[in-house]
Symmetry: C2
Subunit: 513 residues, 2 copies
């Protein structure tokens, strides 16, 4: 693992950070992939896309909107700034990113055993993010509430297959827009001890997130520990807007991590072809990551790519089609060449319900996600309806798949026990292995056990009520919530968090922007 | 393509066969993969499994039951035969297979445009095989009939994503066991013009299949064209039984192709560990393929692997778990090293209904199938309930995924149009691509279009009746059957087929064995 737990900067704080990363990595729960990533492009293809990204940065440029300080920073670093349009000499963004962005980092959780490594051969699964609606079998589709939000934080905490509490696991639409972030961050810190994501809807809300993290972790701790990871989306094509830049700046100034993610539905926010969408994604991400590194060299950044397709008939987003999978594999390879952690994928689908369409589409994203070697997987569980709805049953279904991925990435056991030659020798032709010593010795660990799948006979399944997977998932999330136990929180911290939230809520009137 | 369309034997018939293979390959409809296979084991791991397979063949041996002629053949070739147990000197089976088995071959269809290449970078999708039951949303689960059988032949013919008519697409349980094969082969030859599979339930039924193929293709044609592909399963562990050996012999003598397939539920028919199941599968397949090559050197054989896991609680077969995916990837690599075509995978699941479990499990098999580079994919569409039921809606759902795989394996278009740099230049920051010239120019070919997926808004979906994927699939297969048109069949051939079937039916009383 030590060959992965490295930072580019050597000595001093960087070395201490690296040492801490290693110390934590031995106990933290995330996937460590042993298999080489699947590649869809060779050296020539990847170089071509890098060249095209540089051409876009040099000739077309990126708009940095509403943030004069960002323009100054970029101009001072050597970019050509005309109004809000910033053009970058070839290779400039890459040089800035490679000079200071960590190859990987640890996002620390308030329970140190749940800290996650982000980068290298690590993969971290986080719940879906940003849905205004929620769905379950009992009540159908409805606006999300803070109660739903807390439920999903609890479910992600309870699931052994989700490594992260996520961010806006659903929009708490019952709260005023300008105060939601306080309750959301409070819920992540209170109802889970897994790492979490901060608010990005305004720079001040990012700052609130930082303040709340300081209450829990200690103000000094944040200075050289990433405890917040936040999602900064580009306004593709080729635009970074003020709110995302401001949030990313505030997190970087506090040395906290950001996911710098072009959000691309190819055909709408990027060209309709995969190679074109890849080059544009790389250009936008390079510009965003360079900005963050200029704000604070060494602040953790994750190269993000959210890319899907659209229906050419209706313009509606489509998921699980083969083209986004090709883009995902290529972008992961480009991130490896750049030398930064990569975020993409998830269990994405367009289906409104947790049916076969949902599962097929989600698998067609999640499998490439894992095989491409994605480091941080937002939307790993719960996503329905193109991200408009967070599904309770879908969450359970997806988490089960995340569990299977954990076994898959371990690869094949080639130990003597794994080879099982003696078992074959002892059994001989025609003798079943069900009761053999080798089978019994491996009983506990052989084969992933899905809590959700029904493998019974037809007759047994019929007798059990002929339930489909969604109906079984319904019972599982209810049981998970019923059995949920809140992780301990220091009473002083609890009090200080409550006080902070109450004070900030009282400081301004409710607003729906 | 020419570097793949090669046989080991040079000159004479082999060269003519190779030339014909190339001529057909340019028009035949199957997938041609452009991506390198995903690998889960390196050279060391693969060598270890090959070594262990040789150890099994040398020390433990394989039983060839009820077929004295097979024992003589193997003894004469250098095997150590004790009773029905055959032990092979290290490397013997590999040498025999590599000396004469074609690296790839063409299975000719009665419509030459539908002939398929099996091996190399080709992938062929065939329907599921062997279910006694069928299921649809209207009538639920029931025994299959010859009408169901014909329906699935018609559906596979009508689907652009299935390349093959398959074999026992469901059991026609309404016909006597000893006469089913006549109606099944007749249905494949009459209701489809895609390539098909022959009967293996008895040597005489294999011979009937050969005779019927001779009626359609001409007796001489079969001598140097593979027109029948048949499934010979080992009775794992380490047993080949008389009926499979007899069927494989009859097909080989007619120079027709067989899938030599160990059928493994790890933990029952093989060790509970992946590396053990791999070594045993390789040993059984090597012995079976060597037998076929001894019967007739050069007869096409396909290395098959059907491997899944079992529930350690109940012993029931489980599908879509991560361990069989690891086995599949390893076996595909071992087949490449051996230099023979490979059969595995499909859209396997344990689910009783076409729900999210079915789709997730099927995707967890089909994606590895394609990424591993499987050449012949039996069970690509329709499989439910561990193979006990053939689903009408599942067939439609799976075929859609097969279609997506066809786009995926083409890889990323890096042409100037694919790069789309001009489109990005013209659009500039903040301008959507929906109406641009580049998008319009690529309108027809951009993105796989699923007929099944619902990508509409929630409101539109609700207005359309809130149908799930299975309900939409129900309408699709009904429309496919309603619009089905039988491919032309020469009246003389038609007559001769009917006469053969009637004569063979009259030649023995109905029997249920």
């Amino acid at each position: 693992m030590t060959d992965h737990a490295t930072h580019r900067r050597s000595g001093g704080r960087a070395a201490r950070q690296a040492a801490r990363a290693i110390a934590h990595a031995q106990t933290i729960p995330f996937l460590t992939r042993t298999l080489k990533p699947f590649e869809v492009l060779g050296e020539e293809g990847l170089s071509l896309i890098e060249h095209n990204a540089d051409t876009i940065l040099e000739e077309v440029g990126i708009e940095f909107r509403g943030d004069p300080a960002a323009l100054s920073l970029l101009r001072d670093a050597g970019a050509d700034v005309q109004g809000e349009l910033v053009r970058f000499p070839r290779g400039m963004c890459r040089r800035i990113v490679q000079a200071s962005a960590p190859r990987e980092f640890v996002q620390h959780a308030r329970n140190p055993e749940r800290s996650v490594r982000i980068g290298g051969n690590a993969t971290v699964f986080a719940p879906a993010y940003g849905s205004p609606f929620v769905r379950d079998l009992d009540n159908g589709r409805r606006y999300g509430t803070i109660e739903d939000f807390r439920n999903f934080v609890k479910l992600a905490y309870a699931s052994p297959y989700l490594h992260h509490s996520g961010g806006t696991v659903c929009e708490p639409v019952d709260l005023p827009v300008n105060k939601r972030h306080l309750e959301m961050v409070d819920a992540h810190l209170r109802y889970s001890d897994k790492p979490f994501m901060g608010s990005v809807t305004a720079p001040s809300r990012a700052q609130d997130t930082v303040e709340m993290a300081r209450i829990v972790f200690g103000a000094d701790y944040l200075e050289d520990h990433a405890v917040i990871l936040s999602l900064a989306n580009a306004s593709s094509p080729l635009v970074w807007d003020a709110s995302m830049l401001g949030a990313a700046r505030n997190y970087a100034l506090a040395n906290q991590a950001t996911l710098i993610t072009p959000f691309i539905l190819a055909g709408a926010m990027a060209p309709v072809t995969a190679a074109g969408a890849c080059a544009q994604t790389l250009a936008e991400a390079l510009a965003g990551m360079a900005f963050v590194q200029l704000v604070r060299p060494g602040a953790p950044v994750v190269f993000g790519s959210f890319a899907s397709s659209i229906s050419m008939q209706s313009g509606a987003p489509t998921f699980g089609t083969p083209e986004p999978a090709l883009i995902l594999y290529a972008m992961a390879a480009l991130a490896r060449r750049l030398g930064v952690p990569f975020r993409s994928g998830g269990s994405l689908c367009a289906s409104k319900v947790p049916d076969a369409q949902a599962a097929y589409e989600s698998a067609a994203t999640l499998q490439p996600t894992v095989l491409a070697g994605v480091n941080f997987v937002l939307h790993a569980a719960g996503w329905l309806e193109g991200g408009l709805a967070m599904g309770y049953e879908k969450f359970v279904l997806d988490a089960d798949q995340c569990g299977m991925m954990g076994v898959f990435v371990d690869g094949m056991d080639l130990s003597e026990n794994g080879q099982a030659l003696d078992a074959i020798r002892e059994n001989g032709p025609g003798q079943h292995f069900l009761g053999t010593a080798h089978t019994l010795a491996n009983f506990e660990t052989a084969f992933y056990r899905s809590e959700l799948a029904d493998n019974n006979s037809f007759e047994q399944w019929f007798e059990d009520g002929s339930l489909d997977a969604a109906q079984r998932a319904n019972a599982i999330w209810k049981r998970m919530l019923a059995e949920y136990e809140q992780p301990p929180l220091d009473p002083g911290v609890d009090e200080a968090l409550r006080e902070f939230v109450a004070r900030r809520k009282a400081s301004e009137p409710d607003s729906d922007v």
